[in-house]
Symmetry: C2
Subunit: 361 residues, 2 copies
C-alpha cells in the first residue's frame, strides 16, 4: 500500500457536476493526463489521486477530499505546494482548504525547531504574552533605524522586527542595519529580528553575518522566498528561530489558516505573523481563531508555533486581542506606536506593561 495523505478543496460547482470535477482535480494534482493514456498499473494504483469523499457545504460549494500519494513529494517543500495546488491554483473555482499531515511529512519537514518555548526563552518571558514592534519606514538610514530600535527597547518590547519591506536597499544595507541595531540593543533583553531577503545564497550570507553579531531570531517571507528556500535555511541554521511573514500569500485562494498557520509551521516557522481581524485586513475573527489554532494545536510531534497577530492594531485593543488569542501569543504593534513620535518609548512601555499586567478572562 502506498502511503497517502488527505487534501481538502472547496469547490464551487453544481450538484450534477461535482463528482466529475472532483475526479478532474484528483487527476490534475497527481498525473495531469488522461487516465486511459496511462499504461503502468502501479501508477494507476499508487500515484493517481483518489477522491476520498465529497461533502455538500451548501451555497453551491462542496468540500472535496482527495488522497494524494506521499511519494510524490520527495521531501521537498516547494514540491509539497506543487502537489497540493500547483495547477489547480490556476482554477478560479477552487480553494485549497486543508491538508492532513501524515507522520512521514511531519518527519521530513520537521516543523518549528524552537517554537513557542524557544521564543519565550530568548526573552525570559513566562506567564504572559510576548510583544513585538516593527522598524520602519523603509528609506531611513541604518543609523536612524538603530536609534528607533533603542527607543522601542527602552519601552521594554520583547522583539523588534524589520518591516518586511526592508531588504538590502542602498539606503539601509542589511549588514549596516544589523550592526547598528545590535549595537543599539547591546545589554538589553530585547531581540532584534532582521528580515532576510534574496536568494538562498544571499540569505545564508546575511544570516552568517547576523549570527556573528549575536542574532538568534530572523524574519522570512516563505511565499516570496520559496518554500524550499525556507526549508533549506531552517535546516542549515538549527540554532536560529524563524518568524514567518505572510507577504504575497494571496490568501484568498489558499485558506489562511492552512497556509500561514499549518504549512508555515510544518516547514519550520517558529512564529507566524498574520493580519488579525479588525485591522487593515479583511480576515474574520473565525479565520484568525482557526489560524492561531493551526499554529499551536497538537500536530503529531511538531512543536507549536507562536501566533503573531498584526496588521494595524492599536494599543486600546490589547486587552480584547489578548483575551481572544490567549497567552501563547505575540502581539505585534508597529505603526500605532510609531505614530506617538517623540512619545514612542512611553507608548511602547504602555504597550508592554499592559500585556504583562493583563488578566485573562
Amino acid at each position: 500500500m502506498a502511503e497517502r495523505f488527505l487534501v481538502t478543496y472547496h469547490v464551487q460547482a453544481g450538484a450534477a457536476a461535482i463528482a466529475a470535477r472532483a475526479r478532474a482535480i484528483a487527476v490534475e494534482q497527481s498525473v495531469e493526463m488522461p487516465l486511459e493514456a496511462i499504461e503502468a498499473p502501479e501508477v494507476l494504483r499508487d500515484i493517481v489521486g483518489q477522491v476520498a469523499d465529497i461533502t455538500d457545504l451548501g451555497g453551491g460549494v462542496f468540500a472535496v477530499r482527495i488522497a494524494l500519494a506521499t511519494s510524490t513529494i520527495g521531501g521537498d517543500a516547494a514540491q509539497l505546494l506543487n502537489m497540493l495546488f500547483g495547477n489547480t491554483s490556476l482554477h478560479d473555482d477552487v480553494v485549497l482548504a486543508d491538508v492532513e499531515v501524515p507522520p512521514e511529512l511531519a518527519a521530513s519537514f520537521g516543523g518549528p525547531r524552537h517554537g513557542i518555548a524557544g521564543l519565550r526563552r530568548r526573552v525570559a518571558a513566562d506567564g504572559r504574552a510576548l510583544t513585538c514592534s516593527a522598524l520602519k519606514p523603509q528609506g531611513l538610514s541604518a543609523d536612524r533605524l538603530g536609534a528607533l530600535a533603542a527607543r522601542f527597547a527602552a519601552g521594554g518590547v520583547d522583539f523588534i522586527k524589520d518591516d518586511h519591506g526592508l531588504a538590502d536597499q542602498a539606503y539601509s544595507p542589511f549588514a549596516d542595519r544589523v550592526r547598528t541595531c545590535v549595537a543599539a540593543l547591546r545589554g538589553q533583553a530585547t531581540r532584534y529580528v532582521p528580515s532576510l531577503s534574496g536568494s538562498l545564497d544571499t540569505m545564508r550570507a546575511q544570516l552568517v553575518l547576523a549570527r556573528e553579531e549575536g542574532i538568534d531570531t530572523v524574519l522570512i517571507a516563505p511565499v516570496l522566498a520559496g518554500f524550499s528556500t525556507m526549508q533549506a535555511m531552517v535546516a542549515a541554521f538549527p540554532d536560529i528561530a524563524f518568524l514567518a511573514h505572510p507577504s504575497f500569500a494571496g490568501a484568498s485562494r489558499v485558506a489562511p489558516d492552512l497556509l500561514i498557520g499549518k504549512l508555515f509551521r510544518l516547514i519550520g516557522a517558529d512564529a507566524v505573523i498574520f493580519p488579525t481581524h479588525g485591522g487593515r485586513f479583511g480576515y474574520t475573527p473565525e479565520t484568525c481563531r482557526r489560524l492561531a489554532e493551526a499554529a499551536r494545536e497538537k500536530l503529531l510531534d511538531l512543536r507549536p508555533a507562536l501566533p503573531v497577530p498584526a496588521g494595524g492594531m492599536a494599543l486600546a485593543r490589547v486587552p480584547e486581542i489578548l483575551d481572544f488569542y490567549g497567552q501563547d501569543t505575540m502581539l505585534l504593534i508597529g505603526g500605532s506606536l510609531l505614530a506617538a513620535r517623540e512619545r514612542l518609548t512611553a507608548e511602547t512601555a504602555a504597550f508592554t506593561s499592559r500585556v504583562a499586567a493583563h488578566r485573562y478572562r
Copy 2:
C-alpha cells in the same frame, strides 16, 4: 528626483471611497505605516508611494496607478514582488494588474538570455512554430520515461519537457531521469527539458549535472521556486534557456498577462508556459492574447520570450491555435498525444507535420 515606476491595481470600491483606498494602497506598498508618524522628509518625498491617477473602469472597479520608488527594490526579484503586491495580496478587493518596467529594472533583471531566437537556434527551426510535449505520468521509472522520450522524438517534436510534477522522487530521481532521457535522444535534434526542483543549492546541483549531460534548456516554476531563486539560476547559468511553468501562480489575484507574460520574462524566462483558452483552464482568449503579447512585445531592450500555450490542447485545434498565436509560439501537447498509446509516435508526427505545414491566415 527619486526614480519611480508605475504599478496598476484594479480595485473594487465605491466612488466615494476609491480615493482613500488608493492612498491606503500607496502607503501599504511602500512604508506601511501612518504618514503622520514619519519624521524624515526624504522618506515622505522619495519613498512613500504616490497615487498617479484613478480611472473608473465601470462595474464598481477602478484602475489605480501608483508610483513606487525604484530604490525600494534593491535589485532583488522577490523584493520586486514584495513591493508590488506583498501585503496587498492579502486584500480580497485588489488585483495587481500591470507594471511599467523602467530601464533601471530591466537592466537589473535582464530578461530572457536567449529568448525566441535562442530557442529556435537550439532546434534549427525557422519559419514555423515550435513544438513541445511532456513526459508523464509521474510514478514511471526513469527507464520508462526515457522510452517515452524516444517515441516522442521519433515523431519529430522539438522539445520534450518533464511534467512539472516530476521533481526528485524515489521512483524517478532527477539524475537517473536526465541520463536516461539524454541517452534516449542522442543524435537527434529534439531537446529534453528537465524540471528543476528544490532549493537554489539543489537546483544548481541538478543543472550542473544536466549540463554535463549536454542539456541546454530547463524547466522552472518561478512562483514555487521563489523569484530570487530563478533570478540567481538565470544569472549563474547564462548558457541555459529557461522555460517558466505557472504552477502555484494563483493567477486570479495577479493578472496572468502580467505575472506569466511580463514578470516571468523580466526575470529571465526564455519561454513561458500558460493554460490556453478552450482547454482545462478558464483563461479567456483575450487574457491569452495579452499574455502572449506581453511575452513577445517590444519592452526596452529585453529579448522576447516565447509563449507556450498548453493545458489540454488536442491535435484538432492546432490550426486554430497557430492562427491565434502566430508563428513565434511553441505548442505544447502532452496528454492528448499520450492518449494515443501505441500510436504515440505517429500521433506526434501528425502534430509536428501539421505545425510545419500550417499556412497562417
